[in-house]
């Protein structure tokens, strides 16, 4: 299909994807670095380029609640947030998933306070990983655009019926201009299609009750349905990714390996840093180090068997975490990947990096890869949970 090659910021790319998906209700609250995505969307509303009803809620908790209400009324809904905004919605995230509403939400990855920080890290989406949302990470703005369009299809699929959050790194992707290919409005809308909910509060001929109290005799069964829905989501993420490939030329799956087939050492991680890591991998390959990487696109549901399969021949694995689970040795992703590798003998280590938007460059990643390889070979031991760029005492200042 014919596509336009454009230069957009990640936020504008997200706004475009949302517009093309033709949501009926968009209820939002601004927060850096998401704000411009919704500014752009509001511009589409003002210019009559979308029929969506735009609700300026008084907080993110209300924005998500309004989305749940609209979804209960049987319409396609979307919103967007970041960092503390996602945290403020926390209660309602669980409700959206439990009620099985396919709300789509770009999350412009931002650090949680405190201290207050508006820059990129993954603490926000990690804090929501148990809520029951499908979570898809984007490496660049092309992926963010593509992922948002696919998110509607994934969430609305009858085997899934779950809300979907699409992560794009705050400032790194949201505020930088990238060149990307976008579908024509009709082609994007055609791919996303029409939303056909099975039940709706507005269907007066078939009255239903939504949001009932459930006592100990049934709560477990209600929640277990979400487990099964998540299990069915793997195939849907893959099939929608394949279908999107036919439409756009860009096919997506659960994982995105890079030079992994013969790698002796690999990085595993999420988001834009995996783009930076490709440069580190290429540099090391040029120096004779068989490095590779595994970018995890679909984080929830967590593709454990596929990850184990992808990494089984890699002798040394370093998992990158852009968040900390305080009190746990090793970040959230490290613990989950190590769990997936249970029974395998591959050397594994963890690097915490990039908190609060701290930059990480290819040389630092290459260093981490070399350290991991050395440790795996027994040359120089390393910690279980290492850091990139953390100053202990009297280190180099970081330039903003």
């Amino acid at each position: 299909m014919k596509q336009d090659r454009v230069t957009l910021t990640g936020n504008d790319a997200g706004a475009l994807a949302l517009k093309q998906a033709m949501p009926d209700v968009v209820a939002v609250y601004p927060i850096t670095p998401q704000t411009e995505m919704m500014h752009k969307f509001a511009e589409y509303v003002a210019d009559g380029k979308t029929a969506a009803q735009f609700i300026n809620a008084e907080s993110e908790h209300s924005a998500m609640s309004a989305c749940v209400g609209a979804a209960a009324a049987g319409v396609r809904t979307a919103t967007a947030t970041a960092g503390p905004g996602l945290a403020l919605m926390w209660e309602v995230l669980y409700v959206a998933a439990a009620l099985r509403y396919p709300i789509v939400m770009p999350v412009v990855s931002r650090a949680l306070s405190g201290p207050i920080n508006i820059h990129c890290d993954h603490s926000d989406s990690m804090g929501a990983r148990d809520a029951g949302w499908v979570q898809i990470f984007s490496e660049n703005s092309q992926e963010a655009y593509d992922n948002i369009l696919q998110a509607f299809r994934i969430g609305e699929h009858p085997d899934v019926q779950l809300p979907v959050m699409v992560m794009l790194d705050g400032f790194i992707l949201s505020h930088t201009m990238e060149v990307l290919n976008v579908l024509a409005d009709e082609d994007a809308s055609g791919f996303v299609g029409e939303y056909k909910p099975s039940k709706s509060l507005l269907d007066l001929k078939n009255p239903i009750t939504v949001g009932a109290l459930v006592l100990p005799d049934f709560y477990f069964e209600c929640r277990w349905q979400q487990v099964e829905a998540m299990r069915r989501s793997f195939k849907v993420v893959e099939s929608i990714g394949a279908e999107y490939g036919k439409v756009s030329g860009r096919t997506y799956g659960l994982l995105a390996p890079y030079k992994l087939e013969d790698a002796e050492v690999a990085l595993v991680g999420l988001g834009s840093t995996m783009g930076t890591a490709k440069v580190a991998v290429d540099n090391l390959r040029a120096q004779g180090v068989k490095a590779g990487l595994l970018s995890i696109r679909c984080y929830r549901p967590f593709p454990a068997p596929q990850i184990k399969d992808a990494l089984k021949k890699v002798g040394a694995i370093a998992v990158l975490d852009r968040s900390i689970s305080y009190g746990l040795e090793g970040g959230p992703l490290f613990n989950e990947v190590r769990s997936a590798m249970f029974g395998a003998q591959n050397y594994m280590t963890n690097y915490i990096y990039g908190l609060g938007g701290r930059d990480v460059n290819p040389d630092e990643l290459a260093s981490a890869i070399r350290q991991t390889l050395d440790a795996a070979k027994g040359k120089a031991p390393q910690q279980l949970m290492n850091t990139i760029g953390l100053r202990e005492a009297g280190g180099k200042p970081m330039c903003l």
Binding site: L99, T209, V214, W224, Q225
Partner: protein
């Protein structure tokens, strides 16, 4: 009833959604009463309809704008009817559960 107490997760509706209306009728909240129930006195009653208006369970039965009785299947025994009755000596009184009363459906 759409849901049976032995239904498993494969059988209940998705999202804990209740797929038919007025299912509250199947749940007899009258079992919550703890010893007292309202008894209506037709002779004293002026049919002001206050008890009907204030009853939180819609358990006061009205026909042709007159109070005809109480639906004991749903009356929780809160006593608001007696409390709101403006008639001197009360046209609707909370009495012991054991006392016979005219039931109206």
């Amino acid at each position: 009833m759409p849901i049976n107490s032995t239904d498993g997760y494969k059988e209940i509706p998705a999202g804990a959604m209740i797929p038919e209306p007025a299912t509250a009728l199947a749940y007899k909240t009258g079992a919550w009463r703890t010893g007292k129930k309202p008894q209506h006195d037709k002779e004293k009653c002026t049919n002001c309809l206050f008890c009907w208006l204030f009853c939180p369970d819609s358990a006061i039965v009205v026909k042709d704008a007159k109070i005809v009785g109480v639906n004991y299947d749903y009356c929780k025994g809160c006593g608001l009817c007696e409390s709101e009755c403006p008639v001197k000596g009360k046209a609707i009184k909370m009495v012991d559960e054991a006392v016979g009363a005219v039931c109206a459906k």
